[in-house]
Amino acid sequence: MKRVALLLLLGLAGCSNRDPETPRVAIGAKKFTESYLLAEMGTSLSRRAGVEAERKDLGSTPTLWLALTQGDIDAYPEYTGTITRQILKDNPADLYAALAVHGIRMSKPFGFRNNYALGMRKDVSAGLGIAKISDLRRLPNLRFRFIDEFLDRPDGWPGLKLAYGLPQTDVKGMNHTLAYAGLVEKSLELTEVYTTDGEIAQHDLLVLEDDRGFFPAYEAVWLYRADLEARLPDVVAQLGRLEGKVTEREMQEMNNRVQVKKDKESDVAGEFLESKGMGRTKSTGDNLATRLGATTVEHLQLVIPSLLAAMLVSIPLGVFASRRLRFGQAVLATTGVLQTIPSLALLLFLMPLTKWLFGSGIGAPTAIAALFLYSLLPIVRNTYTGLTGIAPALRESAEALGLTRWAILWRVELPLAAPTILAGVKTAAVINIGTATLGGFIGAGGYGRPILRGIDKGDIPMMLEGAIPAALMAVVAEAAFGAVEKWIARRRG
C-alpha cells in the first residue's frame, strides 16, 4: 500500500522531466487574450529556431516582470506605456538603457498600439454630434462606466477629467465585458476601450479622437532577457520577425476570433504567422480526454506533494503545540494568519523564495509552496485539538502502565486523536484541491488553467473543463477520507 503510493508519487514527479539536452525557452503571457496570442506566436517562432518552447501563463504585470528578471521566463509581450508607468514608474529619455540596467532588452514595436481610448455607439455619438473627446464637455449628463482600475489610475479618468475639463458626474465602476453589453443596450453612453479590443469591430463602435493627446502610446513590444541574445541568438532573431508586422486592425480581428468566436488562440496565432510567411506549426491534435488527463495529472502533482509535506510538518507541530501551550497559541495564530493571505499576494511573495530554493520561481514549486502553507492550519489545529481533548484518565492510564513518553504518544495519544487529525487532513485536502486552481496564475497548470482562461475569454465550456473535474476531485477526496473515517469508527464500535 505504502509502496504503491510512493511509486505513484515518483511517477507523477517523473512526468514533468523532459530531455535536458535541447535548449528550452519559456515565453510568458499575461492573463488576457491578446497576450496569449502574442506569446503563442513567440513560442511558434522560437521553435523554428530549433529550441523547445513553452508558453507560461502567468498572472499580471508584476508577476511577469519578476519572472523575467529572475530568469523563470525568457521573453514576454509587453506595452511601452506599461513599461514606463507601471514597471519603471519613470519616463526615461532612453527606454532601452533604462531596461538594460535590469538585464532586460526590448524589441522594436510590433506595429500596433493597444491604447486606452473612449468608445461610444456610432448612432449615439452621431446624434449628439461627438467625434473627439473635447466634444464631451458640452454634455454633462452622459453616463460613463469604467473598470475600477481606470477610475483610480492617474492616467485614467482622474487625469482625463482634468486634462479636458470634463463635467460628467454619473461616472461609476463596471466590469469591462458588462460595460460593452451596456453600451450596446444603451444603458450607458461611454466606456473606456483598448484600441485592439475585438468588440470594437464586433459592435462597430466609434473610438473618440484623443485631440489633446492625453493617453500615452502603448506600443506592443517583446521584453526579453539580455542573456537570451548570447545564449540563443536565433530565438531573438525569430522573435524579431514580428517587429512592424502586426496592424491594429489585424490584432482586433485576432482578438475578436478568440474572444467572440471562441477559436483556439494557437490556431489563430498559427494562421496569422502563416499568412505572413512565417510558417505554421501544425495544430496540436488534442482532444478533451487528453486535455483532461494532462490537467488532472498536473493538478494531482500540485495537491499530493503539498498535502504530504503539510502533514509531515503540521502533525509534529500540532504535537509540540499541545505540549507547550504558549508555543501552541503562537503556532495556531501564525498558521491562521497564513490562511488569510490572498493567493496572488502569497504567490508573488513566494516567487523569489522558490527561485532561490528550487531554481524556479514559477510553475509547480511555487504553487506547491503556497498550497503547503494553506494546508498547515487545518492539520495543526486538529492535531492540537485531538491531543488536548484526550481524557486525563486515559493519559494517566498510559503513564501508569510504564510506557515511555514516545510510546504513549505513538501507541495511545496519536491513535486516540487519529479521527480528529484525519478530519483535519480531509479539510486540508478539499481546500487544497480547490485552491490548487491558483496554479493557473503561475504557469503550474492543473484545472486552474482552463478555468482562468475560460473566465477571461467568457468561454463557459472551457471554464467547466476545469471547474467540473476540480469539484469531482474534491468530492472523491471527501468520500475517500469519509470511507477511512467510517472504517476506523466501525473498528472502535
Binding site: L394, E399, A400, L401, A407, V412, L416, R492, G493
Partner: protein, 248 residues
C-alpha cells in the same frame, strides 16, 4: 513495600495531602478510605510518581520514587482505575498486550500469558477481540485487572475499581478480586469510599480526612477503638438496609 515519609502535596497553594508518614506492608491488602476529596487518589499517584511530592519522600522497595526511577517502578506496579481506564482504540486483547508488545515480547508468550490471566480474572476468551465499548462494566474492570497483572507486578494499586458497577456485579467481582489477591499474595493498595467493601478486603484500613490520617489499623480497631469522633460518625454514616417491620 511503599513508604511515605512526611510527604505533602499541594495543588495551587492548597494542601491536598499530608504531611503523611505511612508504611504499606508487603503482601498485605491496605484499603484507603475517606470522604471524597480527602486525598486518596493523590496518595496513590504519589506512590508511582505520577505526581511529585512538594516535600517529604516516597520510597518503593527502599528505592526513592523520582522522575528517574518512576518508569522502572511502574513496570513493577499494576494500576487499575475506575471503569478500567481502557483505551477505546484497542480491543480487550490489545489493551492487555499493549505494554508487553512495546517491550518486545514474542507473540506466543503474549498469547499464553493472556490466556492465563483471562482464566484468573474469569474473563471470557471469546470477548478478547471486542472493543471496550462492547464490554459490560464488570468485563471492562476484569480487562483492566488483566492489563495491570500482565507483567506479574509486585504490587497492585486500585482506585475505586468497583465504584461504577451495579450491586450484583459488584459483589461477584469483590469475591473474585479477594480470591485473586489471596492467590497471588501481592501488596495491594485499594481505594474505596465504601466501608463494607473496605472491611471485606482489608488487612489494614487507613482512614483519611482532609489529607491527613485519622486512624490506621485493622478493621476491628476502627469499630471497637475509634481514635476520633469522626471515625464513629464515618462508620455510622454507612448504613445497612433498614428492613421495615412485617405487618402482623
Amino acid at each position: 513495600m511503599f513508604h511515605l515519609d512526611g510527604t505533602t502535596k499541594r495543588f495551587a497553594g492548597r494542601t491536598a495531602l499530608g504531611p503523611i508518614t505511612l508504611a504499606l506492608p508487603a503482601g498485605k491488602t491496605t484499603v484507603l478510605i475517606g470522604p471524597s476529596g480527602c486525598g486518596k487518589s493523590t496518595l496513590l499517584r504519589l506512590l508511582i510518581g505520577l505526581i511529585d511530592p512538594d516535600s517529604g519522600a516516597v520510597r518503593f522497595d527502599n528505592m526513592p520514587v523520582t522522575s528517574v526511577t518512576a518508569r522502572a517502578i511502574r513496570l513493577r506496579v499494576g494500576y487499575v482505575l475506575q471503569d478500567g481506564g481502557l483505551f477505546p482504540h484497542l480491543s480487550a486483547r490489545g489493551n492487555v498486550a499493549l505494554l508487553v508488545r512495546h517491550l518486545g515480547w514474542p507473540a506466543p508468550k503474549v498469547e499464553s500469558r493472556i490466556a492465563e490471566l483471562a482464566a484468573l480474572a474469569r474473563f471470557p476468551t471469546d470477548a478478547l477481540d471486542r472493543y471496550p465499548q462492547h464490554l459490560s462494566g464488570g468485563q471492562r474492570q476484569r480487562v483492566g485487572l488483566m492489563r495491570a497483572l500482565m507483567l506479574d507486578p509486585d504490587a497492585l494499586l486500585l482506585d475505586e475499581p468497583l465504584g461504577a458497577l451495579d450491586p450484583l456485579v459488584r459483589a461477584e467481582l469483590q469475591d473474585d478480586l479477594r480470591e485473586i489477591f489471596r492467590t497471588l499474595g501481592k501488596t495491594v493498595v485499594l481505594v474505596t469510599h465504601d466501608l463494607g467493601e473496605a472491611a471485606f478486603f482489608a488487612d489494614r484500613i487507613v482512614l483519611l480526612k482532609d489529607g491527613a490520617i485519622v486512624q490506621a489499623g485493622a478493621p476491628a480497631d476502627l469499630w471497637h477503638r475509634p481514635a476520633d469522633p469522626f471515625v464513629t460518625r464515618f462508620i455510622q454514616a454507612q448504613r445497612g438496609p433498614q428492613i421495615p417491620a412485617e405487618a402482623a
